[in-house]
């Protein structure tokens, strides 16, 4: 105590974590404090997992039809029966009866026919990631009595299976599209910000022009010229490109703004004064400086992409059947009749809204955490 020095020789564990914390660990710990964002991130992760393993998770392929069962309401699953007591989950068979008042078909449980749900059962063959061939599904039931967790559509296809299958396109189109516009944005924004001058002016005016275009009519025009006979994969990429061509502008703006600011930071100057080359400065000082901000912008622009795809497909201009996306699924619920009589056809909309909200929550959390040095 008598000696005159900074008493920093004893460092406790908590301080140490703080002292040695990198940018990313600071961001991570700030993000974790954001409860809603962390939970949203978990749910988003689950959604993407579902999308990846959709073939395994759902009982049917997206095209399998049960022609006897069109517009069937969601099937109830039971685990209790007055005779047998508790048992493993089962469903009752359905019988189709004519409602004498409305003259429409209705399904009612056929209490005499009790079918148990089987887990890890064999079903239609699929190939996971295009490589592993398998026919095992998480759950299934015999051919005669289908299980429709979310009901069935006009052609008797399982809405649950189709929704999960559709998430593959709907969820991935956001990622792929954003990566594309990210590439264009980072390139043009980077050039614009780093070189400045006339190049900057030119690119900025071009972005102004792109942003000033009305998006929906433009998308429609673009997609309308896509040949109808393209394969669904081709259409998919075409749509992605259309979406990203229009949305790179804001990303380029963010990149440029950040680069302009970071280029003038004293530490960048210090590196230049020490003789650092341009690539080194970009990789070592500029990129890490705005990568976190880019992630935020990207996260926040994914929902826009998802919505855009849904909108296009909903209007029949996007993904073409037989490929399914949430947008094409929602096409079925375009008329009022459908909404009043078959409300379960709107379930994909819940997925769209949920995903968009989740992305926004995560984006908000990231935004708060992105700049740990503020």
């Amino acid at each position: 105590m008598g000696s005159f020095s900074n008493s920093s020789s004893v460092i406790n564990e908590e301080d140490k974590n703080f002292y040695y914390a990198t940018q990313w660990s600071l961001i991570r710990s700030r993000f974790r404090q954001h409860r809603l964002a962390s939970i949203s991130l978990i749910f988003l992760g689950l959604l993407y997992l579902f999308a990846i393993f959709s073939d395994f998770l759902v009982p049917y392929s997206s095209t399998q039809r049960f022609s006897k069962y069109n517009f069937s309401a969601p099937t109830s699953i039971y685990i209790y029966d007055s005779e047998a007591g508790f048992s493993s989950p089962f469903v009752y068979g359905q019988k189709k009866i004519l409602d004498k008042k409305t003259f429409s078909w209705k399904y009612e449980p056929d209490l005499t026919k009790k079918v148990y749900i089987q887990f890890f059962t064999e079903g239609e063959e699929y190939s996971l990631f295009g490589i592993f061939k398998s026919n095992i599904h998480l759950f299934g039931i015999d051919e005669e009595t289908p299980v429709f967790l979310f009901g069935s559509d006009r052609l008797g296809r399982d809405v649950f299976s189709r929704t999960i299958h559709g998430s593959q396109i709907s969820l991935s189109i956001g990622l792929v599209g954003v990566s594309l516009s990210f590439l264009i944005g980072i390139l043009l924004g980077g050039v614009s910000g780093y070189y400045g001058g006339y190049i900057d002016d030119l690119i900025q005016r071009f972005i102004d022009f792109m942003i000033s275009l009305p998006t929906i009519p433009l998308w429609m025009a673009f997609s309308a010229v896509l040949p109808r006979d393209w394969s669904s994969l081709k259409t998919y990429f075409a749509i992605t490109i259309i979406l990203s061509i229009i949305s790179w502008g804001p990303l380029a703006r963010v990149t440029r703004g950040k680069i302009l600011a970071l280029r003038e930071e004293d530490y960048t100057l210090a590196a230049r004064a020490a003789g650092a080359s341009t690539p080194r400065i970009i990789v070592k000082h500029l990129l890490p400086g705005f990568s976190s901000h880019l992630i935020v912008s990207i996260t926040l622009s994914i929902p826009g992409m998802i919505l855009a795809e849904t909108a296009l497909s909903f209007l029949g201009l996007g993904i073409q059947p037989p490929a399914v996306s949430w947008g094409t699924l929602l096409q079925d619920s375009q008329d009022l009749m459908a909404i009043t009589n078959q409300p379960w056809l709107l379930i994909p909309a819940i997925f769209v809204i949920g995903t968009v909200l989740l992305f926004n929550f995560v984006g908000d959390g990231l935004r708060d955490a992105a700049d740990p040095y503020s």
Binding site: T22, A274, A276, K284
Partner: protein
């Protein structure tokens, strides 16, 4: 104090920034540094003082090759090698970079928050491709020189105070053993109680390694404390130049007089409100002018000042001034004797 060997010779250095306000508007020029000449001796501290926007930082940054100079020349000569910065080839530029380094003002923005202390300090060596063992050894040496410890090396800048950050910045500038160090407001952003630590550190390092400093500041008290010679800058030009004693005790330019008068003095309590005060604001740097650049604010001006081209002239004992009336007017300096510690 210093031997009479010139290590850096700056001749008529100009740095103009072009300013475009819009796509189609015409280009104007900001004459941030407009014809500055001086020589820096080995081992000396040259102070550059002047108010905000007079071009001090631009000058400093031009000298470390951060800006492309508009015109003029910068000659570096440490006895072993001579480099002319203007027409240097890549190898010479690299050597120049190793010899002339800069310390920045803001201890917060001058360190990349995403890079730990070791990498920050080692960066110049990494850039110049030193072997790994040498890097480690040198970093460890230099970090001790600036009063930090090895255990600090793995930490990130956010865990340091302003003074410690400035030490890290200094370590980075010292690590490639430069001969000339430009301190651009190196203590201005620090807490007052920490300023003295850094001033003393810079002085100690100079005593030990014979660095030549160009010490840029707007604080006359600091300049007076640390410098051997002083250049007073006004609107992109040096208006007075000489040894500390000459410039402070018998200024030969009205601007220097006004600066000295304006500096707040702790013992001024009894003479409140008796100062001569420079009125008005600094001039617009984008306007071209022939005559004295302080004309509008000068209390001694006559019409001829506006028409006669500005030029530094020697009034004896290497004391230069740009004021053409210097012989006719009587200027007051500091009355306190500036004896060395």
């Amino acid at each position: 104090m210093h031997d009479e060997k010139v290590i850096l010779q700056v001749n008529d250095l100009k740095k103009y920034f072009s300013l475009r306000t819009g796509f189609f508007s015409e280009t104007r020029y900001i004459r941030a540094v407009d014809g500055v000449s001086f020589e820096l001796y080995k081992g000396e501290t040259l102070g550059i003082i002047g108010e905000s926007g007079c071009g001090k930082s631009t000058l400093g940054r031009s000298l470390v090759n951060l800006y492309n100079i508009t015109s003029g020349s910068v000659l570096y000569n440490d006895g072993d090698q001579k480099i002319n910065l203007i027409n240097a080839n890549d190898r010479e530029k690299k050597n120049y970079t190793k010899s002339v380094q800069i310390i920045f003002q803001d201890p917060f923005s001058s360190l990349n928050p995403r890079i730990n202390v070791f990498e920050t300090v080692a960066e110049p060596l990494i850039i110049h491709r030193y072997p790994k063992e040498e890097i480690e050894q040198k970093v460890s040496e230099v970090i001790a020189q600036v009063g930090l410890r090895d255990e600090h090396l793995r930490r990130y800048p956010h865990s340091f105070s302003g003074g410690q950050r400035q030490r890290i910045g200094i370590a980075r500038s010292l690590i490639i053993s430069p001969k000339v160090i430009i301190c651009d407001e190196a203590v201005s952003a620090l807490d007052v109680s920490v300023q003295a630590q850094i001033i003393n550190l810079l002085k100690e390092l100079q005593a030990r390694y014979h660095y030549s400093y160009i010490f840029i500041s707007h604080d006359m008290s600091v300049i007076r404390h640390i410098c051997d010679r002083i250049a007073v800058m006004y609107a992109g030009r040096i208006v007075e130049f000489g040894t500390k004693e000459e410039v402070l005790n018998s200024p030969k330019h009205p601007y220097t007089e006004a600066l000295l008068d304006a500096v707040p003095k702790i013992s001024n309590r009894k003479s409140k409100g008796k100062r001569k005060i420079l009125s008005g604001e600094p001039p617009d740097l984008s306007r071209e002018r022939i005559g004295c650049n302080m004309f509008e604010r000068c209390g001694y001006r006559i019409d001829a000042c506006q028409a006669t081209p500005m030029k530094l002239s020697d009034v004896g004992s290497h004391h230069l001034t740009a004021c053409m009336r210097t012989k006719e007017i009587q200027l007051n300096g500091l009355s306190i004797e500036a004896k060395q510690p």
